[in-house]
């Protein structure tokens, strides 16, 4: 479509009818001439070429076209842009600028972020007064520069120029949802959403655009298009997760080669106590390799451990950090409705088994909480959450526990209590549908007075890390435990790991993975009314091995990523609640929330990667390692056209920065056509002269 810039001149287009009028008038006044030799005239005309015979019509059309083109040249029409707009209508534009860490990739001295930002500035510069715009910086928590889309383009440009690439991952879905909200607030009829990003496959592949109204134009502006050469450390693992003085500690560093060629790189591990080790890795294209380092520490201390690679085009992912806290006891949050400090009840026995010597450094740090007191800081601080005779809780609590487990936490649930069936069902409803509960609890059966009056453990899966200590019967005899009340269950999901079975075939302990974490359902109770478990010698090692095994399975539940919250559990002595806790991040002090009871310290938002030392009462109390999301290392991109095709609609466009074939600045611009029209008018006049002087070509 075209839009005239001087529409007042459009009536002059009627001048194109002048040649037609002359033509018609000439026809009307044509001379009638008798001629005896008409037959020769007819033959002569018949033998002329069709073009020559039609040349009057051609001449007429050429003359009309010449006049029309000349008038149109003065009308100054503009061809609509590829966006189907002329540039004259009011437009609401939301620019989503990816500020995630991958945008810091720099090849040739210009980072993808800089390119994308420059393109975004171009788009802003192309807007007209009256257009509405807003900018959304897309990192882990996308935010708009202005509350609502506004015409204050100067402020937006200023905000855009001051925007910096973050060390966070991108959350494009959240950014798009925010953009849709912003566009809904805009009053302009034409709405446009620009996405400036490197379109990392890891971040964008799952993005859907259903939330974007069909009338909204989406422009994908790909930055950093082309070949990328990057390597980065994507994960660090510590085995055991809660190491102790004197025991061997394994540190694994996963390195990803985001390059289409093989890569040889040294991995250096640096410890804050002066230790240092290097290992060379060879990696195939787009694959991972693991560097393994072994240490042993003699003193109970907290060690900052940094793995690093030689700097490349994206330095942010060339280092990764982990805290080796040799002073730390694993924290167990014990959710129970019972009094964990008063015997006899199950929670009491569990708590005492976890930390037999309340003043010693062995065992686990137990934080008993009532279900209603459960909160997120507690869950963040927990290495393991044990549910032991809890009442039916609100769905919110089950949701929190489900999220805790799927996010990498370890949840151990003793299947006993009055409402255990309902509790497990409630938990199951909150779990991801792809990873349901491994079993359903039917009801509690009391075996007293039936047969021998109890069941015992007869089957064990000793290959499991959770039970390998019991492979030797001398360690503890699990079969000696008598269970007088157990829960009857459904068949165990074959994908789950059945660790123990009773002699009647009922599952006694089942472990399953839930997202990044573990769920261990233990169909037994230390309550004296349910079993003699608490009195048995095997109880303490069984519980400890269960927890150790769960912790060994831990898949980075406590790895904190830039852009999110981070937490640590400080070791508070009895009667010394935390006071005046501060935390200093790479950019200075950060806001912290400390729970004086549990010792939980939460940093609300970590912007940068690095160590976040915590100071309590003027003394160093702990440390938090914040790292880059592993997703940012893999720079393989998804072609925006794939995203475009996913949308199954027409009004989306793909542009690029620099190397791409379409310049985003041109997408929204109407192209002036007056010079083409002037040229067309001249050409048609030349053609008119040529056709007018055309000689007939007589065919023999």
């Amino acid at each position: 479509m075209m839009t005239p810039l001087n529409p007042d001149l459009l009536p002059w287009l009627s001048a194109a009818g002048i040649p037609l009028a002359i033509h018609l008038l000439t026809r009307r006044t044509r001379v009638r001439a008798p001629l005896p030799t008409v037959r020769f005239l007819q033959r002569a005309i018949a033998h002329q070429s069709r073009l020559f015979r039609l040349r009057h019509l051609v001449l007429l059309l050429l003359r009309m076209f010449a006049i029309a083109a000349l008038v149109l040249a003065f009308v100054k029409p503009t061809m609509n842009s590829r966006l189907g707009t002329t540039g004259a209508e009011r437009t609401a534009v939301i620019l989503v600028l990816d500020t995630s860490a991958s945008m810091s990739y720099s090849a040739g001295g210009v980072s993808a972020f800089t390119s994308a930002r420059n393109e975004a500035i171009k788009v802003l510069a192309g807007l007209k007064p009256g257009d509405e715009a807003n900018i959304i910086l897309c990192d882990s928590q996308p935010k708009a520069l202005l509350t609502d889309p506004a015409s204050d383009l100067g402020a937006l440009e200023s905000g855009l120029r001051s925007a910096q690439v973050s060390e966070e991952r991108a959350e494009p879905v959240a950014a798009i949802n925010l953009a849709v909200e912003q566009l809904a607030k805009a009053k302009s009829k034409t709405k446009r959403l620009y996405l400036f990003s490197d379109f990392q496959r890891t971040n964008w592949a799952s993005v859907k655009f259903e939330a974007v109204p069909a009338t909204t134009q989406i422009l994908f502006v790909a930055a950093n298009a082309g070949r990328t050469q990057n390597g980065g450390i994507t994960a660090m693992h510590l085995y055991p997760t809660t190491p102790h003085v004197g025991e061997p500690i394994l540190v694994e560093c996963d390195v990803f080669n985001s390059t289409d060629g093989a890569r040889h790189t040294p991995v250096t591990l640096t410890l804050s106590n002066g230790g240092r080790a290097t290992q060379n890795l060879d990696m195939a294209p787009y694959s991972s390799a693991t560097a393994t380092f072994t240490f042993q520490f003699d003193t109970p201390e907290e060690v900052e451990c940094t793995a690093s690679l030689p700097s490349d085009n994206m330095p942010i992912d060339d280092s990764r950090r982990i805290i080796i806290d040799l002073r730390r006891m694993p924290t167990v949050v014990l959710i129970t409705d019972e009094d964990a400090n008063k015997a006899p009840n199950g929670a009491f026995f569990v708590a005492r088994a976890l930390r037999p010597d309340p003043n010693g450094q062995a065992g686990f740090r137990v934080i008993p909480v009532k279900p209603e007191d459960l909160n997120n800081p507690l869950l963040h601080a927990a290495d393991v959450v044990i549910v032991c005779d809890a009442p039916q809780m609100p769905d919110l609590q089950y949701q929190a526990l489900s999220r805790y487990a799927t996010n990498g936490g370890n949840l151990l649930w003793f299947l006993y209590g009055a409402n255990i069936g309902a509790q497990i069902n409630s938990l199951g409803r909150q779990l991801p549908s792809a990873e349901p509960l491994p079993l359903q609890v039917d009801h509690v059966v009391n075996l007293s007075g039936n047969g021998k009056g109890y069941v015992t453990l007869t089957e064990a899966r000793y290959e499991s890390p959770l039970l390998k200590a019991f492979k030797d019967p001398a360690a503890a005899d699990l079969s000696r435990i008598h269970f007088t009340r157990i829960c009857t269950t459904s068949e165990v999901d074959p994908r789950a790991e059945t660790l123990l079975k009773f002699d009647d075939g009922t599952a006694a302990a089942v472990r399953t993975g839930e997202g990044g974490g573990n769920l261990l359902l233990v169909n037994m109770s230390p309550d004296p009314g349910w079993s003699d478990l608490a009195r048995q010698q095997a109880f303490l090692p069984l519980l400890h091995e269960f927890l150790k095994g769960l912790l060994a399975h831990e898949l980075g539940a406590h790895e904190f990523l830039a852009g999110g919250m981070a937490s640590a559990t400080l070791q508070t002595g009895a009667g010394s609640p935390l006071a005046h806790v501060t935390c200093t991040g790479p950019d200075g002090n950060v806001n912290v929330t400390a729970d004086p009871v549990t010792g939980s310290v939460v940093v609300d938002h970590t912007k940068r990667c690095g160590f976040y030392p915590i100071v309590a009462d003027g003394r160093p109390a702990g440390d938090i390692a914040v790292n880059l999301s592993a997703d940012e290392t893999d720079l393989r991109t998804i072609d925006p056209r794939e995203l475009e095709s996913d949308r199954r609609r027409q009004n989306s466009y793909v542009a690029g920065t620099g190397a791409a074939d379409v310049d985003v600045g041109d997408l929204g611009k109407g192209r002036p056509l007056w010079h083409y029209l002037l040229l067309a008018a001249l050409l048609s006049l030349f053609a008119e002269q040529y056709v007018g002087q055309m000689k007939p070509r007589v065919r023999k």
């Binding site: 001439a33 001629l35 005896p36 008409v38 005239l41 033959r43 040349r55 000689k695």
Partner: protein, 306 residues
Amino acid sequence: MDKVVTSPSDRRKFLQVTDLRRLQNLQFAAKLIVEGFYQGKHRSPFYDSSAEFADYRPYTHGDEIRTIDWRAYARTDRYYIKLFRKETDMNCFLLVDTSNSMAYRGDQSGALSKLEYASYLVAGLAYLIIQQGDKASVALGSDKLEACVPAGGTPQNLQRILVALERASPTGPTGLATTLKGLFGTTKRKGLLVVVSDFLDDPTEIFSALSMFTHKGFAVLLFQVLTDAELNLPPIDSALFEDMESSAFVVAEPSAVRTAYQAELQAFLHEMESNAKARHIYYQLVTTSEPYYTALEAYLSVRRRG
């Protein structure tokens, strides 16, 4: 010179004084020996008593006694008959096409129409023929024989011819072959056939009809009369050209089609000329823009050379 028609009362439209003076200097002679019942300047194949001595032959029984040359008998003592070459006059049939197309006078309103031009030409020819003692006959017709002035060698006959020419008006389509066939039926002996027409008809049919005359021994002369407008198309920008003998019409711009038109017309004229040449027929194209006696002069000069 035997007779010259110069009386003012005899002057007609198509035979003006100026024309007569010019025609007096012309010698119209047919190359053929024609039959005739009347004495004239044309040699006859029959020997007879006449002014021109031809030969002697011995007297045989049956010869008339009065034919014996007594002077030769006195010299030779033998009977001889004196032979004379008999002179006969020639019948000239002048056919004028009176079809509608002959009314065309080109793009100039005051110019002669083709029929008028043909009439001038025929009048001149008739005068010459009669002046030299031959007989002239004029036939008029378009698609059939419309009128015919019988052959005669007297001034009165010339008058009748001129009147007939004056009364002639264009009518009907061209059907020259039919007219020629009609005329052929009226001829009793060979002579000279002069056809003055635009010949805008099928040449095959025309020459088929003319073949009858040539086979009978006629000398045939064709004068094709066209106007300059017909030869080159009128010098106008654009016009609706209507055919004069049919309802056909065509819109054309002469300047655009002139070349092609001339090519078509020349092809037709060439066909006419080649057909005439193949049948030993004299053919001449004349245009109304040139005086008709020019055509006569050209013809006679050709005849003299032949």
